[in-house]
């Protein structure tokens, strides 16, 4: 459950960022598309070792982790062992643990030498020093071998192998592992020895055996590196022909399937004009599918689930979802690791979610499978799969079919998986809410409150909340954006000032007013503070959104009843100024949105084009009879200021390779500038200073 305050916290921070990041206010933003096929858990090898070592020392003495650097800093103890302040050494001494102290003494000796060998220092070793290093390593090796106890047998065995590794005695390490270390009880130290053993195998040309060890350790990075040249059909076939049980095949198949399916995904999604590539991709898929079928049929592989799921997923990727899903279902029951079967199930979910017809069976399936996936999402791969499912498949599908609540609910669901702790909204959820129309938001708010929605929708948003104040603020802002100022008032009236003061826009709201015409000057707010957490807020004395709505309602009512041309002109001008200030190009953009960027457009569902409205009102003002010279030039100036539509000019390369200015005749901007210029020529002696000295107007030479 995410509480309101934490949501708000993130909302404020994303809004703060949005103020300065270009092209984000209207979304969409580029999201990663993660590889789907995962028969091996990645990123676990080193992380798991570090965690387990930390756990060992925490279990030994919890105070050690008061200084988390204690483990790493053992490398720098060197000859200062007796006077060392290292927490581990101090803890062992404090316990009078002579056995541990002796081990640590030997370990720090080794680490010192290892650091010297590894590091680049200005003191390059002499021959004598190199010889001493070797002697030291041999001494440590012998001492470690002579350990007769049981408690630290793994640690000492690791020291034996480490010293041989530094000495380059790879054969020695292979023998030691096979004859001694491999028989020791399981521990993190044994796993570290396995890694050294695998390296020794590799260094002595035993690549196949090394791959087996790396697979056993789930050292994915090493495996990928070793097999990099074989990630293609020919490589896979050759490897299979040499040894159908080779663990290397798992890595090769996984990489191949991901590369090929990813290629297919991009061809379908972005419609690249590359027929040769499309053909090559489909050929690869077909070749592999045929080969994988053969592998499964031959029965030589110990992991048919891998091959079956690979062919099923590639079939789905190639557009044969029905056949592919059936193949994946078969894979889920085949021999292999549990992860391989889980992988088949994830692939099936992806394919099903994309291809099956919507209906009660479909939603029931999704609910069951998404629930299962969420249960695995602590592991990064499954978390990424939830993101792929939500952002690449379900949200666009539901949005396209007009199921706005479903689309929003899916983004809510995945957001709580992406940030499982009380971290607030994801950027996607925030932008999704922001993109809703006022009507959509009301409907979604009802869903959150359990007042409507299907069982699947309710399941998706279970745990998601939205405070009344957030709803009112969002709804009021959306209604402003849609030009429904009167309707916005009751919502905005319920928004506490404190709530606004905690938002990133509060600093702008506190320092700007919509009552100044934008064309007569910009109201500067120092944007340097935008990205500094907690320093970008200001306490607002009033809710300017509410004041704006009330003013707009009043001005609109006055305009409707005004009959004198002069009044109509003045009211139209004032309204135009207000509309422009509240537009995304105005100083008071915060009235209609929560962020501002150079890439903004009229992009939200139902959003009114405030600039177009301002131009229309100015035209209305200019159409009134009896305008003074001062009024006319003011209205013309305002109109020419509004960057509505295309720019009035652009630079283009001419045939001589020179840049030339080209005027975009026919656009609002051009005509407005032209009208102002014509007026200025005709009334040269009677111009206001802002027109007479306008440098942009002077440069306008159509």
């Amino acid at each position: 459950m995410i509480n309101n305050s934490s949501k708000r916290y993130l909302l404020v921070s994303v809004m703060m960022l949005a103020g300065i990041v270009s092209a984000l206010a209207c979304g969409p933003w580029s999201r990663p598309h993660y590889y789907v096929f995962s028969a091996i858990q990645r990123d676990v090898y080193k992380e798991a070792q570090e965690t387990r070592i930390k756990q060992f020392w925490t279990d030994y003495d919890a105070s050690i982790m008061n200084n988390p650097w204690s483990i790493g800093s053992l490398s720098y103890v060197g000859d200062d062992f007796d006077d060392s302040n290292n927490e581990i050494i101090k803890a062992a001494k404090a316990k009078n643990d002579a056995e541990m102290v002796a081990y640590l003494r030997l370990l720090t000796k080794y680490l010192k030498i290892s650091e010297e060998v590894r590091g680049d220092s200005w003191d390059y070793p002499t021959k004598d020093e190199l010889s001493k290093r070797d002697k030291g390593l041999r001494y440590i090796n012998a001492a470690a071998r002579s350990y007769g106890g049981k408690r630290l047998v793994g640690q000492y065995a690791l020291l034996v192998m480490r010293t041989m590794m530094v000495l380059g005695d790879h054969s020695g390490n292979i023998n030691y592992w096979r004859n001694h270390a491999s028989k020791l009880p399981e521990s993190v130290y044994k796993d570290m020895m396995k890694g050294i053993y695998a390296g020794a195998l590799l260094n002595t040309g035993k690549k196949e055996e090394a791959c087996g060890m790396f697979y056993e350790m789930a050292d994915w990075e090493s495996l990928r590196w070793i097999t990099r040249e074989k990630v293609n059909i020919a490589g896979i076939k050759a490897e299979y022909a040499a040894n159908p049980k080779s663990p290397t095949l798992i890595c090769l198949v996984q990489d191949f399937v991901n590369n090929t399916a990813d290629t297919r995904y991009y061809y379908v999604k972005y419609n690249f004009d590359e027929p040769e590539g499309v053909k090559a991709n489909l050929n690869e898929i077909n070749d592999f599918v045929a080969f994988a079928k053969q592998v499964v049929a031959e029965g030589k592989t110990p992991v048919p689930a891998l091959w079956q799921s690979a062919l099923g997923w590639l079939n789905c990727s190639a557009g044969n979802a029905g056949e592919g899903i059936a193949q994946l279902e078969k894979a889920m029951k085949m021999d292999g690791t549990q992860r391989m079967r889980d992988n088949a199930r994830v692939c099936r979910l992806m394919a099903y979610a994309e291809s099956e017809k919507a209906g009660s069976k479909y939603y029931k399936f999704l609910q069951d499978e998404m629930g299962w996936l969420a249960g695995l999402s602590q592991e990064s791969h499954y978390n990424e799969m939830a993101q792929n499912l939500a952002y690449d498949v379900l949200e666009p599908r539901f949005a396209q079919s007009g199921d706005t609540n479903l689309a929003t609910a899916v983004v809510s669901w995945v957001g709580r998986i992406e940030i499982p702790v009380e971290g607030g909204d994801t950027w996607d959820y925030y932008t999704r809410l922001d993109s809703l129309s006022s009507q959509d938001l009301v409907s979604y708010f009802q869903l959150l409150n359990g007042k409507q929605g299907s069982a699947f929708e309710k399941w998706l948003v279970a745990g998601e909340t939205m405070s009344e104040e957030r709803f009112n603020d969002l709804e009021g802002t959306k209604l402003i954006r849609e030009g429904m100022f009167a309707k916005a008032i009751p919502f905005l009236e319920k928004v506490p000032l404190q709530y606004i003061s905690e938002q990133g826009i509060s600093r702008y709201m506190a320092n700007r007013t919509y009552n100044k015409e934008r064309w007569f000057g910009r109201q500067v707010v120092d944007r340097d503070w935008d990205d500094i957490q907690d320093s970008n807020h200001s306490t607002v004395a009033s809710n300017q959104k509410l004041e704006f709505c009330r003013d707009m309602v009043s001005l609109q009512a006055q305009l409707e009843t005004a009959s004198a041309p002069s009044d109509i002109a003045k009211l139209s001008y004032k309204l135009a100024s207000n509309y422009f200030q509240a537009s995304y190009k105005g100083d008071c953009w915060y009235l209609s949105r929560y962020s501002n960027s150079v890439g903004d457009t009229v992009c939200f569902k139902g959003e009114m084009d405030f600039m177009a409205k301002a131009v229309q009102l100015l035209d209305n003002a200019l159409a009134q009879p009896g305008l003074t010279v001062s009024q006319t030039q003011r209205y013309l100036y305002a109109k020419a200021f509004i960057p509505f539509g295309p720019e009035y000019s652009h630079y283009a390369f001419d045939s001589n390779g020179e840049w030339t200015l080209v005027y975009n005749k026919g656009c609002h901007f051009y005509y407005s500038m032209l009208a102002l210029q014509n007026y200025a020529y005709a009334h040269a002696g009677n111009l206001e200073p802002y027109v007479a000295t306008c440098d942009i107007l002077k440069r306008f030479r159509p």
Partner: protein
């Protein structure tokens, strides 16, 4: 009368020959030898590389010993050479140290002495005999010139006490400024252009990038020899933007790359490759629509610029250094090319 005319003609011929001979050597280096750079982190020559040294009579190897980089705001050695093999007999080794330019932005107190001591110690520990010179390689600019030159003066002074000489690398853009204090320079005739953005020039060596600097050559007040590329790059671009160097890829894989012109391939499949990326990650993604441009100066391109250089500064090619000995690259050129190059 006829005898007198003969004397005069003979005299004129001798003068012309002498002047021509002097000009040939005026801009070159002392004791020139066919030479090569060795720029890897482990010294180990395979049979092909050994044969290359023998066949071309390489007598001098400029071997990268280590780099000096900023580490915790202090210049420190990095990527030190590991000696897995003795150097070939009869080949003079010139230990070469590459210094990152940003090292010039901090205190260099004692670094010159540390650098020389380290090189000497590396020689001693690894039984490298007959070293008479150290080379320093740095892409210095006007911003770092003063500090770099002061540093070189210190290195030179220390080397003097060991009866050793100092050489430096010179990049084309550095020709426009005063020469550094060294016994001679090796003019790097490679990496003359930029890889980013994509253009029509060969970033390794292109006469259009070289030409603007040639006018400085004749007056450049430092003995010079020349170093020439014998390598190529596979450059990955997304649009016109450079993404990565592709070192270890099979560009003949038809399902991934489609050749659209010589040296120009378009990527037709997404692949995650275990290749270091310019963003620091270990993997590079080649994506549909990317292009791979293979650049490698041809023998003719190189030789024509060699001649152009010789015209501007006679003698500069008396010693030719190739960059670098590596069987992946030297096999890409005809054997005769190297013979011609070293004979220039």
């Amino acid at each position: 009368m006829q005898m007198r005319r003969l004397y005069i003609i003979t005299f004129i011929l001798i003068v012309v020959a002498t002047v021509a001979g002097c000009r040939k050597n005026a801009g070159g280096v002392d004791n020139p030898q066919p030479s090569a750079y060795y720029w890897r982190t482990v010294f180990s020559l395979d049979s092909c590389e050994k044969a290359f040294i023998n066949d071309n009579g390489i007598k001098r190897l400029y071997v990268r010993y280590f780099d000096v980089v900023m580490h915790d705001s202090v210049p420190m050695p990095n990527a030190t050479l590991r000696f897995d093999q003795p150097f070939p007999d009869g080949v003079e080794v010139v230990p070469t140290v590459f210094i990152m330019e940003n090292c010039m932005g901090c205190s260099l107190d004692g670094v010159a002495a540390k650098l020389v001591d380290r090189v000497l110690q590396m020689n001693e520990t690894n039984d490298v005999k007959g070293v008479r010179e150290i080379q320093i390689d740095c892409d210095w600019t006007l911003n770092s010139q003063k500090k770099y030159f002061a540093f070189l003066t210190q290195v030179d002074s220390i080397l003097d006490s060991h009866n050793m000489r100092l050489s430096v690398t010179i990049r084309l853009h550095q020709l426009a400024t005063a020469p550094p204090p060294a016994d001679y320079g090796v003019l790097m005739m490679y990496n003359t252009g930029k890889v980013d953005p994509k253009g029509d020039r060969n970033p390794i060596l292109d006469i259009r990038d070289v030409k603007p600097y040639l006018r400085h050559l004749s007056r450049y007040d430092l003995p010079l020899c020349s170093a020439w590329p014998c390598f190529g790059w596979n450059l990955l671009y997304s649009g016109n933007q450079f993404k990565a160097f592709l070192y270890d890829v099979n560009l003949d894989e038809k399902s991934v790359y489609r050749q659209v012109a010589p040296g120009h391939r378009v990527v037709i499949a997404n692949r995650s490759l275990p290749e270091p990326n310019s963003d620091g990650s270990d993997y590079t993604t080649v994506a549909i629509g990317d292009s791979v441009i293979t650049v490698r100066p041809t023998a003719n391109q190189i030789l024509s610029i060699v001649d152009e250089l010789e015209r501007e500064r006679p003698g500069i090619n008396n010693q030719v250094v190739i960059y670098s000995i590596d069987n992946k690259n030297i096999n890409k050129y005809d054997k005769q090319f190297f013979k011609t190059l070293f004979a220039r």
